[in-house]
Amino acid sequence: MLKIINLHVNVANKKILQGVNLEINPGEVHALMGPNGSGKSTLANVLSGKDGYEIKKGKIIFFKKNLINFEPENRACEGLFLAFQYPVEIPGVSGINFLRTTLNSVRKYKKQKELDGVNFLKLLRKKAKIIKMDEKLIKRSINTGFSGGEKKRSEILQMILLEPKLAILDETDSGLDIDALKTVANGVNNLKNKDRSFLVITHYQRLLNYIVPDKVHILSNGKIVKSGDKNLAIELEKKGYEGLV
């Protein structure tokens, strides 16, 4: 599904990613861990197509297509989703309007029929229930005045609505209490199937108790220095990065 080959990325002439190799197969959950500044968020942003990252070398192959030349919207339509670490607030743009526009935009790209207002609302209600998101919140302007937890929930709602092939969760667990964490994990697990994959970026092993990874990678100084199964995360929790890397 996703194959990252020898990816080198600079930000403002500073080397951030220095030869990342990663392969994710359909149906797999990968966890990406690593100390602050190791390049985790950079990798997530580069995958989603954000500006300001200079790709010096390497390839990002997603279903046999090299993503590097794809606009962010086309990556989304191809089935890539990034749940942001810090989702922006967009005053004045109603959440419902946005969700419908975005879902129909993706459906149109996939040559599926666009949903009308009634059918969209039905679907939205069903999805909101999974992650216990208050409908009043969705009606408001996008993320405007949301608490940290509400913002993360709103990201997960978008994810389960768009049903991507690969979802990247960038520190979705940070700032969540244990109940919210379980709800978010529930949203992810609900979406899991044999074709869909996840890349979960996190600092803490805690989240991985609820979203169980098939593989765990440790990113350090812009490179994946160690990979293993879920036990690697447990080991990391005990020994810290210094003991492992």
Binding site: S48, E73, I90, G92, F98, T101, S141
Partner: protein
């Protein structure tokens, strides 16, 4: 008495501090506008243009209470609501129902208005009357020979009265004129006025107008300014808070295209304690247009417990667009909550990326953000029908990259 000529007046120019960013004189001299007179109007009787132009206007949505001025002269007056009085003072009556000392100006616009006055109205809503239907005032211009048109509206809301007044400025085509319109508004105890000013003048017109609002205790004034047309437009609100428990709200949007110049200038005078004022002015500027926001809040020494807020946000959609913003606070009381601020920029890159990362094309994302920018300002417009029309008109006119 010798008759005064337009050349006897000093037209506002950059020489005056409050006109530093808006050189009205420049546009005036280029066009050499002449005062419009009754004798000309009588020679050119009302055309059929007026009915079709107004009936087709999207903002003409009431058939209950309305007034139509054509080139400054009253053409139609319809009033059905009980407790509402609309009196036509003809051009010979210079009568005003306001205390001039409340609204001292440092320019000649009011004197010009007074000297060359075409139409002058009194609108009065009686005590305890809460009008269900709005009052619409249409200023329709159709004369093609570069005239200066002067109108004045006096509005009085008696105790506990409520009303909505919509002023709409339109023209029969892309003609050149100067519309100089001034309102004097008196809100008595516990009255409430929602006042919409929709400026959609011809793209060659010069527009200068002011609302001079005097508030008594527990009254509520909600103003919404929509500045859209004209080659140059200056809209002023001068508020005088004379008592306590007054709510004074100003929302405004200037939407400038091509080479338009739009100016919204406000002056809030808090003269008494325990009242609040809120100003939120937004601008969207395209191509080579320019915008001005000047807002001054004066809180006098005895106006304790005043809450006064002022915020100006500008969206520049072109590198050649220009904005001058000058929010000012002058506070002489010590127990007050006041703040002001201004932002100017392009569409937010983070927001754009967020929307695109969800599958929206760049153009769609831009459109949604511009809509959001406007919508945020419109959110609490009470007249939902009007709100929808304003939003629609705004979006339609905006150049999307």
């Amino acid at each position: 008495m010798e008759q005064k000529l337009i050349k006897d007046f000093e037209i506002p120019s950059k020489k005056i501090e409050t006109w530093k960013f808006t050189d009205l004189k420049k546009v005036f001299e280029k066009n050499n506008f002449k005062p419009y007179k009754k004798s000309i109007a009588e020679k050119n009787p009302a055309t059929s243009k007026i009915n079709s132009s107004i009936a087709n206007n999207t903002f003409f949505d009431t058939k209950i209470n309305y007034v139509i001025f054509e080139d400054g002269y009253l053409q139609k007056l319809k009033k059905k609501s009980n407790g509402l009085e609309i009196i036509d003072l003809n051009e010979n009556s210079k009568k005003t129902l306001f205390n001039k000392n409340n609204f001292i100006r440092n320019d000649s616009l009011l004197d010009i208005n007074n000297t060359f006055l075409n139409g002058n109205l009194i609108i009065r809503v009686k005590k305890d009357i809460k009008l269900k239907e709005p009052i619409s005032i249409f200023y329709f211009n159709s004369e093609e020979s570069k005239y200066l048109i002067n109108n004045r509206i006096n509005i009085i809301l008696e105790e506990n009265a409520e009303a909505e007044i919509n002023e709409v400025f339109i023209s029969s085509g892309q003609i050149s004129y100067w519309n100089n319109v001034h309102n004097f508004i008196q809100l008595k105890k516990s009255s409430k006025l929602n006042h919409y000013k929709i400026q959609m003048e011809s793209k060659y017109a010069l527009h200068s107008s002011s609302s001079n609002v005097s508030c008594n205790n527990s009254s509520n004034y909600n103003s919404f300014i929509y500045s859209f047309g004209g080659i140059m437009s200056r809209i002023e609100i001068i508020g005088s808070i004379n008592s306590s428990d007054i709510n004074f709200n100003i929302k405004g949007l200037y939407l400038a295209k091509v080479n338009q110049h739009h100016d919204i200038t406000t002056l809030m005078q808090h003269k008494h304690s325990n009242s609040n004022s809120n100003q939120h002015i937004k601008g969207i500027l395209q191509k080579k247009s320019s915008g001005v926001f000047q807002g001054k809040v004066i809180v006098s020494q005895n106006a304790q417990k005043t809450d006064a807020f002022q915020f100006n946000q500008n969206l520049l959609l072109s590198e050649n667009a220009k904005i001058n913003t000058k929010p000012e606070l002058e506070i002489y009381a010590d127990d007050v909550k006041c703040s002001h601020g201004a932002t100017t920029g392009e569409l937010d890159e983070e927001m754009l990326f967020y929307l695109r990362s969800r599958g929206l094309k760049e153009e769609e994302a831009r459109k949604l953000l511009i809509e959001g920018f406007i919508n945020e300002l419109f959110e609490d417009i009470e007249n939902k029908k009007l709100k929808k029309k304003l939003l629609h008109t705004s979006i339609k006119s905006i150049y999307l990259k």
